[in-house]
Symmetry: C2
């Protein structure tokens, strides 16, 4: 078994803790380890370390190598969305074994139940070995309009005792009315961005649906193992079209696509507010989530996160997100977390790049 850990995330939603140079996967927000390390830990029982490929932007090479242990690190000179990222790793893996299942997963998600997660992945690998593209779909808990959905068909088969459904359709982010229908209907699952397939399967799909990408990957593939590899990536990769695996392959493929229910407690930790909801186990008696030490007087339902050792004191405030870093401090209403990304944009516009 192999794994591709996609660590190309950006740094805007968890500003000011996250920055362009310090994206979310390198933050210690869900535990005392970074999301990236947690992702590696989670697949350890399934995949040998040296069969894990972390694909990262050049900006984050150093941090990634420091945290990656024995995992391999592949560098993207520029981010080109998930299809080129997966393609790049797949041509490396194909040289080792094109028929073993590859687990593809984002580096910055949260999974509550790691054991159940591993169980589902084992079942998915079983299905992938039979040639299918397999995905894990998350049972929706709210009419979310920020995710893509997967419409499942009827049960087709079992893999290691787990139900495996046929996928009818990948659908893009719906409007609220549609999302409500999806939630009621019970046939739609959130697209988690976690896929399982063999190198042979996915490269065949890329060959068919993304011929330009295929050509680029072939050019890079010929250089693997030679002194020209870095130069080839440098030359080819920036020219590739930016496209997601969902749009580029999943929504178009006529291959067999299957889905398992990802009922292991999942979150893409998409905002400070999402993080707050996620970690209710850590609330103090006033429902404050103090990920860093703070002195509170009559403070309720706040989230405090700090990367400094400064004292943080809260008096009478409710429902705030307070994030303290060496060069910036943010105070936001928790329910406005979606707008946090405006700050790095504004600082960038003001040419204060270190703050973006």
């Amino acid at each position: 078994m192999h794994a591709i850990v996609m660590a190309g995330g950006s740094g805007t939603r968890f500003w000011p803790a996250s920055r362009e140079r310090m994206p979310k996967q390198f933050l210690k927000i869900t535990s005392d380890r970074t999301l990236f390390e947690e992702t590696l830990d989670r697949i350890k029982p399934l995949v040998a370390d040296d069969r894990v490929y972390a694909v990262v932007n050049r900006l984050h090479e150093e941090t990634t190598r420091r945290l990656a242990g024995s995992a391999r690190v592949l560098i993207e000179p520029v981010g080109k969305n998930t299809a080129p990222c997966i393609g790049l790793a797949a041509i490396h893996i194909a040289r080792e074994d094109e028929n073993s299942p590859i687990i593809v997963l984002p580096a910055d998600h949260f999974i509550a139940d790691s054991d159940r997660f591993a169980l589902k992945l084992r079942a998915a690998c079983e299905a992938a070995k039979r040639g299918a593209i397999v995905t894990l779909g998350i049972p929706p808990t709210r009419p979310e309009t920020g995710y893509g959905y997967i419409e499942r068909g009827d049960e087709t088969e079992k893999a290691m005792g787990e139900e495996v459904f046929e996928v009818r359709k990948f659908v893009e982010k719906p409007d609220l009315e549609t999302a409500v229908e999806y939630l009621r209907g019970g046939r739609h699952l959130w697209n988690s961005g976690i896929f399982i397939f063999t190198a042979k399967t996915i490269l065949a799909e890329i060959r068919y649906h993304l011929p330009d990408l295929r050509e680029g990957l072939e050019e890079i593939g010929e250089a693997i193992g030679s002194d020209n590899y870095a130069e080839a990536v440098e030359r080819v990769y920036p020219r590739l079209k930016s496209v997601s695996i969902d749009y580029g392959v999943m929504e178009k493929t006529s291959a067999r696509v299957q889905v398992l229910r990802g009922d292991f407690g999942w979150s893409d930790v998409g905002s400070w507010e999402a993080l707050y909801e996620l970690r209710s186990d850590r609330y103090d008696e006033s429902e404050n989530l103090l990920l860093s030490e703070a002195m509170t007087i009559d403070a309720k339902g706040n989230l405090v996160y700090s990367t400094t050792d400064r004292a943080i004191a809260l008096l009478g405030v409710e429902g705030l997100v307070i994030v303290d870093t060496p060069d910036a401090v943010m105070i936001a209403r928790k329910e406005r977390s979606q707008d946090v990304k405006k700050f790095p944009e504004k600082f960038k516009a003001a040419s204060r790049l270190e703050l973006s």
Copy 2:
């Protein structure tokens, strides 16, 4: 003319900007100069620099000397409230001229109209030269229970064209009901802590009403100008009883006590909220008082003060006080400003003295 600037304030109400080592008078909160400097500036038209005596705690000697220019600096080994402080400066001044009026004023107040303030002081000095103890009483604008009051009698005379009233009584902080009566009655003024008298007058009062203090001051007075002065202060001052000039003299004296209306726009800047109210001229279009730069999105009615160069970002928050310092950041609801002083207490209790 002489002046005594009482700079013995503590550092709890403007925490974390103010600390034990950095009391309010050294903050730049009402302008780009410290309150202490503003106080000195305000009396410059009236008193020659070298006739100004700043009385400060030893902790603040260095800062005071740096800001005091040609003013003299007298050190208190420990704070003993206003009677010993005024007495100490008065024995120094008495050696120069016991019949010239002394303006006594706290170092950490705000005055809106400096010209009018100077005018009132000139008139008060005129009255003081005739032997009276004179004070400036502030026309109350709310039923404040945190101040002492002065009940005035009928008009007695004019000094430089200004009305000078007889004082009937000094009264301590009233309850709300009484404060409301005072406000309605129109005969009560806030005790500003600003007094004008000659050295001769106040030392006679101290001699009569505070005999222990008199003895101590005489012992120190004998050492003035000798090599033993510092040692004498060190020996005598800590033994003095802590007592305010209001309680120790004003409430008991049978001397002539007079009051002028302090109608020059006054505030003792008693809290972050008071500061916010005071500086409405500096509000941005959303009524934020940004004493330091901040990036705001949908933020209203907040006060931001920083002594660092870190970026401060506010999103969707209202009515907060945000204070950023190198080792502590505070986020408080503005209307809870009176409780800010609990933080230095708590940090002291936790043996984190640098934060108290």
